[in-house]
């Protein structure tokens, strides 16, 4: 489980982030962090500032993991 550094703009130093890698999906990330892929909407909602569709994430995107 790789947790990356937060974007500089974030004001919570304890917020958790993950950088999207090739082959990742929100479901896969949710399963990794929460043990339950059905919790992917939690990640989607936390990243609405950069995601418009839960099925469309890009390699290199830094997603906040609530």
């Amino acid at each position: 489980m790789a947790v990356d550094e937060k974007p500089a703009a974030d004001d919570n130093p304890y917020a958790q982030y993950y950088t999207v890698k090739k082959g990742d999906t929100l479901s896969k990330i949710a399963e990794e962090y929460y043990g339950d892929k059905m919790l992917y909407p939690q990640i989607f909602e936390a990243n609405r500032d950069q995601l418009t569709d839960p099925n469309k994430i890009k390699v290199g995107q830094k997603l906040r993991i609530p």
């Binding site: 947790v3 304890y14 958790q16 043990g35 339950d36």
Partner: protein, 199 residues
């Protein structure tokens, strides 16, 4: 010789009485002076140098007892030492007050930082616990015991933060900082339990 003895004894007694009477005034003044000097510093000393104060109070009480018994010689013999002790008490009080003020200033600065930081830590942990509580099974690396311990730790953090905030609001910033540090340590522990990286 027999006729002169009573006269000499009377004279000796008179001289002794005069000598004692001559010591009464300076002895009384010495005690009054010590009482006045101690009164100036007593309130602060009680806060910043209580042990020194207790010692000086004890010495003063002894001299007042001696004065009441007419033992002026003992009063005058002890007055010098008491004056020195009161001077030392003033110094100790000033040093204690200065150290306390420095500690409060440092605590204020530290509290300012922690007051901004700790709620974010609590929020990040609370957020993760809330999501994990919805999960049908926990992720790899987190067993049920760890998760339960993390939840307990989180509850402790919330109550500790309330206590720290209350202490700060009542002006006890040193205590507030101590509690915030406890919270931070507990937070780091909980984050590890939840496989979260430190901030």
């Amino acid at each position: 010789m027999r006729k002169t003895t009573p006269w000499i004894v009377t004279l000796a007694a008179a001289v002794l009485l005069a000598a004692c009477a001559g010591q009464k005034e300076p002895a009384t003044q010495a005690v009054q002076k010590a009482e006045a000097a101690l009164a100036e510093v007593r309130a602060d000393a009680a806060q910043y140098a209580p042990d020194n104060l207790a010692s000086v109070e004890s010495t003063l009480t002894s001299l007042k007892d001696a004065l009441a018994k007419g033992d002026y010689k003992a009063v005058l013999a002890g007055a010098g030492g008491l004056t020195s002790s009161i001077a030392a008490l003033k110094d100790a009080t000033a040093a204690g007050k200065s150290a306390q003020e420095a500690a409060v200033a440092a605590a204020n600065a530290e509290w300012s930082s922690m007051a901004a930081d700790m709620p974010k830590m609590v929020e990040a942990i609370g957020s993760r616990i809330a999501v994990l509580s919805k999960s049908k099974r926990l992720p790899k690396g987190i067993d049920q015991a760890s998760f339960d311990a993390a939840k307990s730790g989180y509850e402790m953090m919330q109550s500790t933060w309330s206590e720290a905030s209350a202490a700060a609001a009542s002006g006890n910033v040193v205590d507030a900082v101590a509690k915030a540090k406890m919270l931070k340590d507990k937070g780091a522990e909980v984050m590890t339990m939840l496989n979260m990286s430190a901030g």
